[in-house]
């Protein structure tokens, strides 16, 4: 039983909890056992930086007690109460360390909770722990973590995507049914694509950023990671909604995303294929699965149209100016003065400048330093207009392209990433190749619109077994429900005659399971 319950969807877990068929403690223990079995040991996924056994069990016991007591309090429980969740270690939590994947915050524990964490705690979802990521969310492979690489459960010699590789791998490997991610240029969607899971980047402002350690403030967005569209939608509903602590938070009512995900009806839906996000640079297998998805949607009554977004050609360049510019500023606070790592120079005078310098030299990894240098340069007097200023103009053009595209289509579609998961180490020394992985996900961040990645089948890159391919849907800002509707429909179409993709992941070698909750 314990092994199987980790393979339920979050919605199924919620239903069984409500029906009294399982307890939250059982669920949490099963997941802790699974973490023990695959996160270290032979599989060595290393999806978690920190596992919060006691806290998760305490929350589970609380939920079980409320349910057992019945009455109004039990009635008032959130539908997901008792369903465990993992949190990307970029999101601050009281009582658990938050490292951002960096040596800079090695022993740091936040004195406050992120707004999304407050909401999760209020809804009583046991938090299993904090998941691995590229340092400060900078990367597409989770290889840039100071706490080791995370491995892809489909092939442990390959990357799980990034920066949210830990959350995606944890969900794909049944270590958690739900996780939180953050998406600045694809950090939720691309890991979702390469691990066969579902990840949403909500509309900018849909989910509060308060407590998400900022990389690029105008691009960052917290979002859900799950195995099914419905689960992602349910988690999105829980974390969305206005937050007075985030000035960029939207005041809108939260739509019924779960219901949209369950619609599975695309008849009459106009789906726009973005001309610029296919063809060159995309692996054959990825394009084949993309075509099959289009065929399935067309067959189900969707109207497939092609849309032209000429400015997308410059999206990657604009992104790699805006993102590092904002990141160079956001990361200035890590200086060893107030919190986190402090490193004093080995010799010479102990001045504040030299302590700040030594701290930043030792505390940040290479990719972080690369982006700080890029961003500092781009914002410098005399270069601002040519770099940051021009990039902002490109951003406006991309927003116009999207606006025009959404005149012709209700949602847009593309492969989420140009390739399946690549081998660990392959692009570590080639930052530009790494950056190209985000070419299809970045435009949504630049425009602030919602996007989702759902599994679109398996494909081989010609060098090994078949691996997951992700399909991305995009919708206009504030129309997140549309991506859930389209993604839910594709998911249903592709699993009509087969098990869902997430259920087909290869068995992982397991370490001898320890008893959870020690």
């Amino acid at each position: 039983m314990t092994a199987e319950i980790t393979r339920l969807t979050a919605a199924q877990m919620a239903a069984k909890l409500a029906a009294g068929e399982i307890t939250s403690v059982e669920l949490v223990r099963a997941h802790l056992d699974r973490i023990d079995a695959v996160d270290g040991g032979e599989a060595g996924l290393n999806a978690f930086i920190h596992v919060s056994r006691d806290e998760a069990l305490a929350t589970a016991e609380e939920v079980d007690a409320v349910r057992a007591a019945g009455g109004a309090e039990a009635e008032a429980l959130h539908p997901l109460a008792g369903v465990p969740i993992a949190v990307k270690d970029l999101i601050v939590t009281v009582g658990q360390p938050t490292t951002a994947g960096s040596r800079m915050l090695e022993d740091w524990v936040s004195p406050y909770d992120a707004t999304v964490v407050e909401r999760i705690r209020a809804a009583k979802l046991p938090i299993l722990g904090k998941t691995n990521l590229d340092e400060f969310a900078m990367g597409s492979s989770t290889e840039h973590s100071a706490y080791g690489v995370t491995r892809n459960p489909w092939d442990t010699d390959r990357i799980p995507g990034g920066s949210g590789g830990g959350s995606a791998a944890a969900v794909a490997a049944f270590e958690a049914p739900l996780a939180l991610g953050t998406d600045t240029g694809g950090s939720i969607r691309q890991p979702g694509a390469v691990t066969g899971t579902v990840g949403t980047k909500p509309t900018y402002g849909s989910v509060s950023r308060y407590g998400a350690i900022a990389m690029a403030s105008s691009l960052d967005q917290i979002g859900p990671v799950a195995r099914t569209t419905e689960d992602a939608a349910l988690l999105h509903e829980l974390i969305a909604g206005h937050d007075p602590k985030d000035s960029t938070s939207l005041p809108d009512e939260v739509p019924a995303f779960g219901a949209a995900a369950r619609t599975t009806d695309v008849s009459g839906l106009r789906i726009g294929v973005i001309k610029q996000l296919q063809g060159e640079g995309y692996q054959e297998g990825v394009l084949a699965r993309f075509q099959e998805s289009l065929d399935a949607l067309r067959a189900a009554g969707a109207e497939i149209v092609e849309v032209d977004c000429p400015s997308f050609e410059h999206a990657l360049s604009a992104y790699y100016l805006i993102m590092p510019s904002e990141a160079s500023s956001n990361l200035a606070r890590f200086d060893g003065v107030r919190y986190g790592t402090r490193v004093e120079p080995e010799d010479g005078p102990l001045t504040i400048e030299r302590v700040m310098g030594a701290t930043r030299a030792a505390g940040f990894g290479d990719e972080v330093k690369r982006r700080i240098i890029l961003g500092t340069y781009a914002l410098s007097a005399g270069y601002y207009d040519a770099y940051y200023g021009s990039a902002q103009k490109v951003r406006t053009l991309i927003q116009r392209d999207f606006a025009a595209a959404f005149e012709q289509a209700d949602v847009l579609i593309s492969p989420t990433a140009p390739t399946v998961a690549f081998p660990l180490g392959e692009k570590l020394d080639d930052p530009l190749a790494m950056y190209l992985n985000d070419v299809a996900t970045i435009p949504a961040n630049l425009a602030g619109i919602p996007g989702i990645s759902v599994p679109g089948g398996l494909a081989s890159d010609g060098d090994g077994a078949a691996l997951p391919v992700g399909i991305q849907f995009l919708a206009p800002a504030r129309e997140d429900a549309r991506v859930y509707r389209a993604a839910g429909a594709l998911e249903a179409l592709l699993s009509a005659d087969a098990e869902p993709l997430w259920a087909r992941a290869p068995e992982l070698p397991t370490a001898a399971a320890q008893t959870a909750g020690e």
Binding site: V92, S247, I352, Y388
Partner: protein
């Protein structure tokens, strides 16, 4: 390249003005008195335990985000309107980036190319009543930094053994008011400098948007000075003297910088564009850090904040809340009270305009209000080492005391004692007079006896008075007062003496 000659001796002020025209510019920072900070809900309070008025936002903790204090925006708009500025219907914050340990995020959230208020003016009144118009370039919102205390060494960061930082002030709302270059000040430049800072302080006090206490740093002035040759038309290189935080210091700093610049220029040197530190003890400035227009703060729009949109309706509504401009108010009050210029200037300098206005408004005559506030109340405050306003004297008390004097129940001297007893909590003036038996002795019997005694003891005085020297009566009043423990009515004593000697 010209030698900079930093050590050239300053010229005398007169010599400097003979050769050069000074050009001034001011950046005045005003700390707002909002309940909370500019971008967080942490309290904005002075004097508390270090690092207690802080939140994740003002400590720059990872993940924290700013939210604009609407009250601070309102204050900024009202100040902008009071400075006759245009108010931006939409403006943004920017990040001004530099690494310094008093700045928790290592950037200051400020306004750069989109200030909330711009292009205004302020009329300042000089000592002789002349009005000088200072053009305002802009007024923008920003946040204050924390406070560093350097341990060991000279007290500056260089050479200190360690430094302590208090973030209670970090994030306190500031408005920075920047003038356009002030030309044509000539030899009145120092006076204009003082009058300008004084006028800004008056405005923010009248608006009640700041505690405006310069000694606490609520109003801080950076003074820019440059010189141009008498026959020239191009501005010279400027120096920026930082944190000149009293009106007198502003006047002195401008004077010194004019003399210093003139000394360097007259010796054939050139001025280094730099910040200068003001030294109160020697009334001089010393070299700070070089500053150029190319200082690179890597400004960019603050992405965590949305633009501030101020509707014309809101701006107009705020305009209706503006107080009477302080200079106009002073003119009105001076005329209506009939004080001499000197009397009025003293009242303004003592900071008692509001109190006297209130007392007059409560029914006292302007002369009575001035007499009490500028006289006994100020003297008592001085003796007790507090501000006159801190004594808590009510207008009603002053009116009551004046009434008792007018009715002849007490004299001035007794009244002063009654005030002191009143401040010590002994009740209303009338109660004190009655309880302590202080009513002046005016019953003819007791008084006549005392007068007769004094006359008997001072035959020479009596002789003089009898001969018509009425002024000599004063010499009899002293002994009578002594006899009656000061409770005699001096006018009555006079009457009795004159009656007895048959003079008039």
């Amino acid at each position: 390249m010209t030698e900079t000659l930093p050590d050239a001796a300053p010229l005398s002020f007169e010599d400097a003005l003979e050769q050069f025209d000074p050009v001034l510019g001011f950046e005045v920072h005003v700390e707002l008195n909002t309940a909370t900070k500019m971008f967080s809900a942490a309290p904005n309070a002075f004097g508390d335990e270090p690092n207690t008025n802080v939140s994740p936002v003002c400590l720059g903790l990872p993940g924290a985000l700013p939210v604009v204090n609407e009250k601070a925006v309102e204050s900024a708009i009202r100040l902008g309107l009071a400075l006759n500025c245009d108010i931006a219907e939409s403006c943004r914050f920017a990040r001004k980036q530099y690494f310094y340990p008093d700045t928790p995020k290592n950037w200051q959230t400020s306004q750069y190319d989109e200030p909330i208020a711009h292009d205004g003016w302020l009329d300042v009144e000089l000592d002789d009543g002349e009005i000088f118009r200072v053009e305002i370039e802009r007024a923008h919102m920003e946040e204050d930094a924390g406070k560093l205390t350097h341990q060991g060494g000279s007290g500056r960061i260089q050479g200190a053994d360690s430094s302590l930082v208090d973030y209670n002030r970090a994030g306190v709302p500031l408005i920075e008011i920047v003038t356009k270059p002030i030309v044509g000040a000539g030899s009145r430049a120092p006076e204009i400098a003082r009058a300008y800072v004084s006028a800004i302080r008056d405005v923010v006090k009248a608006l009640d948007i700041s505690d405006a206490r310069m000694e606490r740093g609520n109003v801080r002035c950076d003074a820019n000075v440059s010189l141009m040759p008498k026959d020239g038309d191009a501005f010279g290189t400027r120096s920026e003297t930082k944190n000149v935080n009293s009106m007198r210091a502003v006047e002195h700093a401008v004077t010194f910088e004019i003399r210093r610049h003139a000394g360097v220029l007259a010796a054939g040197g050139s001025i280094v564009q730099e910040t200068r530190h003001w030294k109160e003890e020697t009334r001089t400035t010393s070299s700070g850090r070089p500053k150029s227009d190319a200082d690179d703060y890597r400004y960019f729009p603050e992405p965590d904040l949305v633009p501030i949109v101020s509707s014309p309706a809101w701006i107009e509504q705020l305009r209706t809340t503006l107080p009477e401009p302080p200079a106009e108010r002073r003119r009105r009050l001076r005329e209506s009270w009939g004080y001499s210029d000197a009397e009025f200037r003293d009242v303004v300098a003592a900071g008692l305009l509001d109190e006297i206005e209130e007392t007059v408004g409560s029914g006292a005559s302007p002369a009575t209000a001035r007499k009490w506030w500028m006289g006994e109340i100020s003297r008592l405050a001085n003796a007790r080492d507090v501000e006159p306003t801190a004594l808590g004297v009510q207008s009603a008390t002053i009116i009551e005391l004046a009434g008792l004097i007018d009715e002849g129940k007490i004299n001035d001297k007794i009244a002063r004692q009654v005030l002191e007893f009143h401040l010590d909590g002994e009740g209303s003036p009338a109660e004190i007079v009655s309880a302590r038996g202080l009513e002046v002795v005016s019953d003819d019997g007791a008084l006549t006896a005392a007068v007769e005694k004094a006359m008997a003891e001072n035959p020479d005085v009596v002789e003089k008075v009898a001969a018509g020297k009425l002024k000599a009566i004063g010499a009899l009043i002293g002994p009578v007062m002594k006899e009656t423990q000061g409770q005699a009515d001096a006018g009555k004593v006079r009457e009795i003496v004159m009656e007895k000697l048959g003079v008039s």
